[in-house]
């Protein structure tokens, strides 16, 4: 094991190097570029043995990765924002074909207006595409997820592609000290990819075919079950990971001071750290504040969310997303989890950070204050202009 001072992108690239992908299809987009640059350097210097394909678009990036996966190879690609939307067709294709590709997505705003900074509207708009979706908080977690992602995606019970989301700039471009495991450790954790969902010259296959109404529904149901199965597999893989690397993760969600919390912020990604700091501060003032960080949006942690919010007085969902004409998508998902569990706790949505707008400690403190005294269902952080912008 070595320690290096790395950005989120670089840490993720290190994790991918350790996972030994056999085919990497790369197309640059800000703020993902560092990942594909580092991987190209690793291929150049021989520290990574992979076919590195300079594709001419994101659609081709994922199409190429699907082809490689169909050949039985471990495949990697990375994208962001407009690129993710441009390859959207292939997202559904990869999931429907059960190709366990791993893709890093640098969460970024989507046009219009153009903006390169981080929000999560790109990946959250693709929740229905059939991919596992994780949201890392820091560079170490990014590296660890890169390594765990293949083990989860390739599990026979899962066979589902994996989208690892890192907040654009805030995580992709900020540096911290990261532990980098050795190849020996990584190899003992992650075996080579084996599947029967591949081209086979002994027993040839017809793949990615059509299926009519009599069986189509069954294929889609099995796809759904595969993605659901990832919930359990995530926990198993994290237990394996802890055994080999000594770092512990907490499944689909990560709770902070929630045991006795009256007011809980549910959020995802890199903003969680500031939420925890704010919760600490409020605790000192006697406010029973807690934080739930959603680590996986798919499969969605329905039970975990219900369990942790059950005894709260109020909760807020803080997200860098909006489903126009309704509310933040994470809020919708959280509310559904509670409704299914028969839990009636007042919840409010706080939408912030769109287009990279800063969310301050004061903003977060204000969220706790607002839900304690009651506020509107959907709130927009820091937009001014009266209304409930605050």
């Amino acid at each position: 094991m070595s320690r290096k001072f790395l950005s989120g992108n670089e840490a993720f690239a290190e994790g991918i190097r350790l996972a030994r992908p056999q085919v990497i299809s790369a197309y640059p987009i800000t703020p993902q570029t560092i990942v594909v640059e580092r991987l190209s350097e690793m291929v150049e210097d021989g520290s990574l043995s992979a076919e590195y394909v300079h594709v001419e678009s994101e659609h081709s990036a994922l199409s190429c990765a699907i082809g490689a996966s169909a050949a039985g190879a471990r495949a990697f690609t990375a994208t962001s924002s407009q690129g993710l939307l441009y390859m959207a067709e292939c997202l559904y294709y990869a999931a429907g074909g059960r190709f366990p590709i791993v893709m890093m997505n640098a969460d970024r705003s989507t046009a219009l207006p153009w903006n390169i900074y981080g929000d999560q509207r790109d990946s959250l708009s693709q929740l229905d595409s059939g991919w596992i979706q994780s949201y890392a908080e820091n560079a170490q977690e990014a590296l660890d997820l890169a390594l765990m992602s293949y083990k989860i995606a390739e599990d026979k019970r899962v066979q589902t592609p994996y989208m690892a989301n890192l907040d654009g700039f805030v995580l992709t471009h900020t540096y911290e000290t990261v532990d980098i495991p050795t190849h020996e450790q990584a190899d003992s954790f992650l075996p080579p990819y084996e599947t029967d969902n591949r081209i086979d010259f002994e027993t040839p296959k017809n793949m990615a075919f059509s299926a009519g109404p009599d069986t189509n529904f069954i294929f889609k149901y099995k796809e759904h079950k595969g993605l659901l199965a990832a919930a359990e597999v995530v926990k198993e893989v994290e237990a394996d990971f802890a055994r080999i690397f000594g770092r512990h993760y907490t499944g689909l969600t990560e709770n902070y001071l929630t045991d006795d919390a009256e007011y809980i912020i549910v959020t995802l990604g890199s903003i969680a750290g500031l939420c925890r700091e704010t919760a600490d501060k409020l605790r000192e003032q006697g406010v029973k504040a807690g934080v739930v960080r959603i680590r996986y949006m798919r499969p969605f942690p329905n039970e975990e969310i219900a369990d942790v919010l059950r005894n709260a007085k109020a909760y807020a969902v803080l997200e860098k997303d909006i489903s126009f004409g309704n509310e933040g998508t994470v809020f919708t998902n959280v509310n559904s989890a509670l409704k299914k569990a028969g839990i009636d706790v007042k919840g409010c949505n706080f939408i912030g950070g769109l287009g990279g707008k800063n969310i301050s400690a004061g903003d977060i403190e204000n969220i706790y204050t607002s839900i304690a005294k009651g506020t509107e269902s959907v709130n927009f952080i820091g937009i001014g202009g009266g209304g409930n912008g605050k």
Binding site: R98, N206, A211
Partner: protein, 97 residues
């Protein structure tokens, strides 16, 4: 080797594959019902030149003992073979149903 018709045509929930890959060349239905006319080989005339074999879009013609043979399970009766046959060894005849 060529795709061929299998006995098993229906797939229950458990039999539907987990992913979209399956045995290559697995046929469940024939195409003979498409035909209104059928090519008939005059084996006395056929010299086995294989023009019909090469030009058949469905690949249903093979050469056996130097003569063209048609797999009527999959012939659609397009008539290309009859037209391509320079010596008139293939006639299209009405399909009797």
């Amino acid at each position: 080797m060529r795709p061929y018709v299998r006995e098993k045509t229906g797939f229950t929930f458990d039999e539907v594959p987990e992913n979209t890959s399956f045995e290559a060349g697995y046929l469940t239905t024939v195409n003979s019902g498409w035909r209104s006319i059928r090519p008939v080989i005059d084996t006395a005339k056929c010299v086995g030149c294989e023009q019909c074999y090469l030009y058949c879009p469905d690949g249903v013609i093979s050469i056996n003992d130097g003569k063209a043979v048609i797999d009527y399970d999959f012939c659609k009766g397009c008539g290309i073979c009859a037209k391509i046959c320079k010596i008139g060894a293939i006639e299209m005849e009405a399909e009797r149903k």
